[in-house]
Symmetry: C2
Amino acid sequence: MQPKIDQLKRILNEVADLSAAASVLSWDQQTYMPEGGSEDRGDALATLSALAHKRFTSEETGRLLEDLAGQADQLNPDSDDARLIRVTRHNYDKDTRVPSEKVAEFARVTTVAQGVWARARAENNFALFLPHLQKIIELRRGYASLFAPFDHVYDPLLDDYEPGLKTADVQAIFNKLRPQQVALIQAIQAKPQVNDDFMRKYFDEEKQWHFGVEVITRFGYDWKRGRQDRSAHPFTISFGTGDVRITTRFDADRGSSALFSSMHECGHALYEQGVNPAYRRTPLTRGASMAIHESQSRLWENLVGRSLPFWKYFYPKFQQSFPEVLGNVDLMDFYRGINKVEPSLIRIQSDEATYNLHIMLRMELEIAMMEGSLEAKDLPEIWNARMHDYLGITPPNNKNGILQDVHWSAGMFGYFPTYALGNLVSVQFWECIRRDLPDLDSQIEHGDFSALLAWLRRNVHTHGSKFEPQELVQRVTGSKIDPQPYMRYLQSKYGDIYHL
Amino acid sequence: MQPKIDQLKRILNEVADLSAAASVLSWDQQTYMPEGGSEDRGDALATLSALAHKRFTSEETGRLLEDLAGQADQLNPDSDDARLIRVTRHNYDKDTRVPSEKVAEFARVTTVAQGVWARARAENNFALFLPHLQKIIELRRGYASLFAPFDHVYDPLLDDYEPGLKTADVQAIFNKLRPQQVALIQAIQAKPQVNDDFMRKYFDEEKQWHFGVEVITRFGYDWKRGRQDRSAHPFTISFGTGDVRITTRFDADRGSSALFSSMHECGHALYEQGVNPAYRRTPLTRGASMAIHESQSRLWENLVGRSLPFWKYFYPKFQQSFPEVLGNVDLMDFYRGINKVEPSLIRIQSDEATYNLHIMLRMELEIAMMEGSLEAKDLPEIWNARMHDYLGITPPNNKNGILQDVHWSAGMFGYFPTYALGNLVSVQFWECIRRDLPDLDSQIEHGDFSALLAWLRRNVHTHGSKFEPQELVQRVTGSKIDPQPYMRYLQSKYGDIYHL
């Protein structure tokens, strides 16, 4: 059996190398590549991705998986090798189900659509984007149909980002969450509002950069195995646990957003840096799913980075760095300001209380479009109506409404729910951490994140994608994905801030 | 016939994409990669190179080349397609002659040897490096033997860098050059020496960077198709004509070296940016050879960048940028200073009059080792003796003697001669340029390099590697590679500076 496992690993290593190479090219494209490089870069990325796909979906991989399936009972089902075979099998079955012409067509259509979407958004012109979106919906429905029979047509799409999770599970979770979040927001809106004017002032970029570096260094980001650069959209990218990079950006209108963005990306990066090194060059060396990834980024950005203990330690330094902005803002006013609840048109600018509602809305629309009960042409109207229902605001235009997000133009149906699930999971983990580390607040007040990171390393990071997301949550917390811890967290936090 | 040419191009495109990807990984490794990335990066690069080699040397490529060979008389022998087939055939024959175990062994041995060489140089310990060098020499002799019969055992090595050039040709050229260069140096040494103390003062790095950028922008370096970064050793790297990058470094002991280094690398980059875009993703899209490449870098660095017309334009600006260093140095003293002739222990610090002697010495030793008439253990002694014969100086240690250059540890036998040949070719081109652009000096005095660049683009750059280096020189200049133009240039330039 071992020779076959080794042979399978050699294939997976080669595929991982090609994928790491593609990631380096992609990182470069988003950070330093001059514009003249686009055409050749596109070709190089297409070649790498085609070669990786060809190698992974080869008959040799299939034969090895068949042979190993017969012998799997010789392995401890929780052993790394057994899990590697299982993950590989899952990916292989998905990847071989899709004809390569379909993969190529999808790549072509979404490449064009992303360019059109950018123009449509800039020009506030939904009609321009509509035919491309219709084509993408058609292709995604066709993709899903390759996996029939299924419980729900959305399942195969969701599975690409959350292996094993079902649409019905997510709907059940969101159905519990939605009314509670809406009620909380209404309760908050009935109270006197907090002031966050200082957040819209100018924070010197160089100082923000250095402050962000100081914070994430304290979090435990390993600079010998990573670096931070600037890019138009912040992201985290891994070329293996030894090189996990983040980017940030500076937004003149939203002063300190770079700091929160750095903490967010650092959360992703700590996860990737913390995967068991024994998994290198295999599919296990990445995070378990997008939701688990988001649980890590949101934990560091929000549960840590927008908490009072965190700012008890960092605020004096932060205030000193920006005396012209924060000289007259005391700690409690600052803390309330960075946690102001205010329904926003824009998802990525939303606070912790309203964010998930944007996601639930997107998912409802995605499901309706996949089911065929909603036509793309009707999206602006229904988007605006539900924004009013859930958040009490109505977008004045499509640019800041239905057109705001890139995901659909890239064909990423099934991705949005992972953002909200990540928020829920982050607090499920957090409740366990608080139980295991009773003096966590005091550690954070002293700028000490080592026990927190060690807990995450041990319980979450080290496993990479050895466990499916739901199994990982179950193993760590003893429960399924559950909205109640998140609601408890919101109610407690905003109860204090807004005197509910 | 066309379908087969198209099929061949598809293979070449894929190989070019893999090679471009490897170049991006290599650029990143030398500029921004954190140290933790080394292990995975090594694996990714090995996989890319193995896949490119496998694809290029496949039976399919061989069959297509066989089929096309039979039909070659249907093509104009100077057409791009005919030349592409010829270059591909040449590379294919070389690459398929070497068993892949040998390629892998050579990669392993030289990877280790480069680490050992770095330590040996730092510790001034030739004995540490000797066994590795012996192994590399053995492997290189074995490599050459795969190409028997040959006129000279060194021919196959030289051919890797200068396709088609023979050892005997280079020896004939160097035999004419050597006594003339030695005589010139002796004549110079008999004269009063020029002062270049200011060159060893501190030049602010930021200002040097900006001045260098201004200069190469004027040369015509296209920043939309390139960028400059810092690295330990300056280099130029191309990912296609749309993205050709350079690096520079700052050396505290040699004040303005970054400027000359930027001009040098810019010369390489202008060449790669200027290749006919129709050759993209094929082997024709690179420079014709290392010597032709070096002719371009040396032309911009020396024939332009160390010329009096150049500094007539730039010196007032340069002096203004560094008033504390150059405030009391007038143009003519500056010009003489940057052209001071002084036999140096270190090749890369050598002036135009002494540089080639370092190269000739290296080539003599390489040939003797390949022939088996010199043993590696005797290198330090013979190096030191010939340094005395050619340059009148004796290295005080091996660190600044035989151990100074990385090339042998990387197995790059046959590379050194291209540096000197590049110098010779640069002046052969220069004489033609002067004939075609009679007011070149005046253009340069006005900071106008456009006619010069256009000439190079038209006559040299656009062809990429369509022509073998000797054929290109013949087509452009009407002569073979010839040392006399270079000697005329040296005699005229230093005749003025040293009043010979």
